[in-house]
Subunit: 141 residues, 2 copies
DNA sequence: ATGATACTTGACTATTTTGGTCAGGTTTAT
DNA sequence: ATAAACCTGACCAAAATAGTCAAGTATCAT
């Protein structure tokens, strides 16, 4: 089981962005430098975040990105969704017609993955971007 | 984020095994046929399960495997542990000396992965093999 | 207007991980 | 002795990941 770094980077970048939200657009270049994430990779990630309306872009000099919603209203689920980070339960889920193992029945662990998925999504649904910003920067205020 | 099928197969095989526990050793060949898992792959998996003392092997003709503990005492955490299925939080965890991103500080999502890991482990700690057997076969009793 | 900054898009690729297979054993019941 | 079943380690192809690279386009500041 594994969490990919695309999802992790997306969250890191958004926490960074959320911190400055409301003042100026934040350029990917700045985020790249502060968070040590390749600029090219960030561009890929933000392209997806924009399509899902989590951020807005501001073009031109002094441009960058701003949050499209309040940090409190952006849940981690939204972020992971946007960058295609899914809880894949090993092709043991979607095929409604066929079973998981090529047979016609569900495999013995089918319900288990269902439950786990729900469990994890609950966790991500509760956490907002705002929570993370507070957790990381409250000491410095 | 992803769940590998090695862990899934391990659980499937053990549920199958647990079902017949106490009567005779169950051969991997039988499990292979019933669960549609390659025999060679099962051998790899059971080798690990044996080393972690989750199962015992019985050699020779009519041999096979039996559970080494009661099904109620085998938690899913134990199984995933045994087959090296870990909740990897993207190298963002172990390096205590260096930070997660090459810098000396923890990355902005460090605590998040910690929490998630705990959350998931809680789930797997609660579920025992016995629970799964009951869930899958209670209707037929 | 024009250059610099910054976003935008899409193709491409090396590395790693996964999900196995294959071969060649050893052990033990019958 | 022989067949069933465990045991071990090496090997490999396909897929996914984690990016890089190239070639733009849009907009602001001056």
């Amino acid at each position: 089981m594994r969490l990919t770094s695309k999802g992790r980077y997306a969250v890191m970048a958004l926490v960074d962005l959320a911190r400055f939200d409301g003042i100026n657009p934040v350029s990917l270049r700045d985020i790249s430098l502060r968070q040590s994430i390749s600029l090219d990779y960030l561009e890929q990630i933000f392209s997806k975040l924009r399509k899902k309306e989590i951020v807005q872009s501001v073009r031109g000099t002094q441009g960058g990105y701003i949050l499209n919603r309040k940090a409190k209203e952006i849940k981690l689920t939204n972020i992971f969704d946007a960058v295609d980070e899914k809880v894949k339960t090993v092709q043991c889920k979607k095929e409604s017609k066929k079973g998981c193992n090529g047979k016609s029945t569900k495999c013995l662990t089918h319900n288990l993955w269902d439950e786990l998925e729900t469990h994890i999504n609950n966790f991500f649904d509760k956490k907002s971007l705002d929570d993370l910003v507070k957790e990381n920067f409250e000491r410095r205020l």
